[in-house]
């Protein structure tokens, strides 16, 4: 049975990675999840300089999911290169580095600093607020998406995966823009913007007021967007959004994803990733499928 899949020329031993920001750089999980078993580890977003992130509370539970407004706290690319990449180098898994920035220059600086690093894929988070252009995220405007993709592609030594935000009217338009810009693949979906108010204290549950909704509540939206994008562009897709069990991962693959990331489910069950890999194997066995790649986009 073949579990390996390919994303932009990089072979993952199986389709399962983690969703950026839910797994650190793997160090915290490696005590109980054997990182060698994962198709890839996707790191928390890293910027050119350290970011402090938002005030707390940064997370709140909602039905079927959670809101987060971590604010992309990160130690900056220099410490990340010194500590996190060498750590991941100890494991037989692919390394996907998630990159964030407040300006195009921020992104480019990180990408350049990663050029001589043993990193397999770059995942560019364009849901970050664009401080220069009024704090709307980079990822909502097709022209910006195309431009940023093109500029990053010029500097990047690794294949570039653009990570799309679902908070848009037409995800296919954004996907096409990324494709035009030369992206090697797409990740979707990032979180949906939500809010929670405590009716007794009359306070926002998050210090940031709004936060990103993730968890099984968003899964049907992820399936829809992966399906739409897979039927619009030719790029490989890393699908994510509410993946909690093997069924969810398979659903995203049938919709068109080549690989699948597990995010919020790591919080509900620290073993979620490895259990999902086992579940995919069982499904393939049960349905007599030799190659997991047969699932990709199999439902039209």
């Amino acid at each position: 049975m073949n579990l390996a899949v390919e994303i932009a020329g990089v072979t993952l031993k199986n389709p399962i990675t983690v969703a950026s920001g839910t797994f650190g750089s793997g160090a915290e999980y490696c005590e109980f999840v054997d990182l060698n078993k994962l198709g890839a580890v996707t790191t928390k977003g890293v910027a050119n300089v350290p970011w402090e992130g938002n005030e707390t509370p940064r997370v709140a539970e909602v039905r079927g999911g959670m809101l987060n407004a971590i604010g992309l706290q990160n130690p900056g690319i220099d410490l990340f290169k010194k500590r996190d990449i060498p750590f991941l180098g100890n494991y037989d898994t692919k390394i996907i580095v998630n990159v964030c920035g407040h300006s195009i220059e921020d992104y480019l600086e990180v990408v350049e600093k990663l050029s001589d690093e043993p990193v397999d894929l770059l995942e560019i988070n364009i849901s970050c607020p664009n401080v220069k252009e009024g704090a709307l995220s980079f990822g909502v405007d097709p022209a910006t998406v195309e431009k940023i993709t093109k500029l990053i592609k010029e500097k990047a030594d690794q294949p570039v995966i653009m990570k799309l935000t679902p908070n848009v009217t037409d995800i296919t338009e954004i996907a096409r823009a990324a494709e035009s810009g030369g992206a090697d693949g797409l990740s979707l979906i990032n979180t949906l913007t939500g809010m929670k108010i405590d009716i007794n204290t009359r306070k926002f549950a998050l210090a940031n007021k709004t936060g990103g909704l993730s968890g099984c509540a968003v899964h049907p939206i992820a399936v829809r967007m992966v399906y739409q994008v897979a039927n619009t562009v030719k790029l490989p897709i890393i699908g994510m959004g509410g993946v909690t069990c093997a069924e969810d991962a398979i659903e995203l693959m049938l919709a068109g994803a080549s690989a699948v990331a597990v995010g919020t489910a790591n919080f509900s069950n620290p073993y979620a990733t490895v259990e999902i890999i086992d579940g995919i194997r069982e499904y393939l066995e049960k349905h007599h499928i030799e190659d997991v790649k047969e699932l990709i986009g199999a439902v039209k």
Partner: protein, 256 residues
């Protein structure tokens, strides 16, 4: 080592209105745990995606059991309160750093406020130095017997129904309690006041903080507190309550 395991309820009691005590038989957690650490409790509801962090109130390594004392505030704790002997509970732990090694020659004040009282019991037991507990209640008292067996203690209540009317600082001042080191857990305003008091009096002070969490193991950066110095791991002035804490030297923390 941290373990995810199915613990079994061996005893559950309501201590006072809304506050429960549960003893859980663990496989490994009790053997690994120290006072001040906590466990993540997983609820059975798929719709509730986050674990519930609860501090260890007692650790019975011999019997491989732990005790949690908790206030019912929402879905998870309400569900816990309905568990009975033999029920299985998914736990993950022990998590966090716990209280630091202590100096047997230093005089300790062990301070708990409200639902911050239970996490101080195991510490009070473990300390091999001169020690006094100060327990600040709202109204109804709980865990009295246990603290009585662990050492001397003072009580305050907000309504004055027992001990001194007021808070734990009122107790310290009224009784002119002296200490070389303070260990405290409770509401943030109390911890902040104690930290300022300790700083002014030049007393070593450890506080156990609380923050909203997701992963509980340092991966998600949900649970940070502001630190005075740049933290080594985060590279910014944020420390993770679930890993660098929940117990901090009060001097490390930049209270809001």
């Amino acid at each position: 080592m941290k373990y995810k395991e199915k613990a079994i309820v061996i005893k559950q009691d309501q201590l006072v209105e809304g506050i429960y005590s549960i003893w859980l038989k663990t496989e490994n957690i009790a053997h690994e745990a120290v006072a001040g650490q906590f466990v993540n409790v997983y609820t059975p509801s798929a719709g509730h995606v986050l674990p519930r962090p609860i501090s260890l109130c007692e650790i019975d390594a011999a019997d491989n059991a732990i005790r949690l004392v908790y206030r019912v505030v929402g879905y998870g704790t309400e569900w816990m309160s309905r568990l009975y002997n033999g029920c299985g509970v998914e736990l993950f732990g022990p998590l966090g750093n716990g209280f630091p090694e202590h100096d047997e020659n230093k005089k300790a004040l062990v301070i708990g406020g409200g639902i911050g009282i239970p996490p101080m019991l195991q510490l009070m037991r473990d300390l091999r130095c001169p020690k006094t507990a100060v327990l600040g209640y709202k109204d109804e008292l709980f865990l009295m017997d246990e603290f009585a067996k662990a050492g001397s203690f003072y009580v305050s209540t907000e309504d004055g129904s027992a001990g001194i009317k007021g808070n734990v600082l009122d107790v310290i001042k009224a009784n002119e309690l002296e200490a070389d080191v303070i260990y405290a857990c409770g509401p943030t305003p109390m911890l902040k006041a104690l930290a300022e008091y300790a700083e002014a009096e030049n007393i070593e002070c450890y506080v156990s903080l609380e923050e909203r969490m997701a992963c509980g193991i340092g991966a998600c950066l949900a649970c940070v507190c502001k630190s005075r110095e740049k933290d080594e791991h985060t590279n910014v002035n944020n420390k993770r309550v679930c890993v660098e804490g929940p117990v901090f030297n009060a001097r490390e923390v930049a209270f809001k």
